[in-house]
Symmetry: C3
Subunit: 108 residues, 3 copies
């Protein structure tokens, strides 16, 4: 954790930024780089009856760290994504509850 | 936004209804048709040890608009999905928080 | 419902445990085995610029049943997953709202 589930951005684009992105996020969150998961999720988008490009979207799943860290997190992710040439990106945060998150059967 | 993440319904089925579906939803929500995202998400379902058909399911991600609009939204989506010949469909709404949703790094 | 969306565990691994897993969960939840959905979700994970294995993760979507049942649910899922040889697994629960969940257009 955090998990980043990525739609509408290619695997090579994510590969090209993954090291620098995760390094910046680990500094922000004061945790190890191995906590972060970047996962590209293939979907098939449909617009006006046609298969179309998927809008660049990232859902971040984590334990909430407050508005200031969230804003900074979104800013870092956006900076790196836009650097790949993607023209725009939306990011939504999904909060896990600490009473509902288990590692090997135990609450973390 | 809204985002509709669709499981268990084929891409051609969604293509066949996408224009009429989005037109009806845009009227309900009083917004442009280009706000809606329809994305088919491939999953592999398993039942009794066998790979099986995925149950038709749609998750709608949005900023909440209240029970009346939600009911009407579900009714419109259901009507169009059932018209494709799918016998049943479940729809769940997922609410994004306005303090946690970013466009190009800025809260929307 | 419950829905289990599975990442980072192979389809044959899930097939090998699906009957026993669902039988145990149905006993816990006092409901029929046909209520449970097991869906493997393919994602492409990236670490240090390389495509890598996806961390074993299961998101359970349901109406909340309280801490005791949740703990027991996570324990059952973990036991069966680890029995396949997967070394670790994380499980998060996502709660659906009863005012926002529809079957064929009607609140369930």
């Amino acid at each position: 954790m955090p998990h980043m589930i990525i739609r509408g951005i290619s695997v090579p684009q994510i590969q090209s930024i993954s090291k620098a992105l995760v390094a910046d996020l680990a500094t922000l969150c004061a945790c190890g780089t191995d906590n972060f998961m970047l996962e590209c999720l293939p979907t098939i988008s449909i617009q006006d009856g046609q298969v179309s490009d998927t809008y660049p979207f990232i859902e971040v799943g984590w334990f909430d760290r407050g508005q200031e860290v969230r804003d900074a997190y979104a800013s870092i992710v956006t900076k790196h994504i836009l650097a790949t040439g993607v023209p725009e990106v939306e990011i939504a945060f999904k909060v896990y509850r600490e009473d509902s998150y288990y590692w090997n059967g135990k609450l973390v």
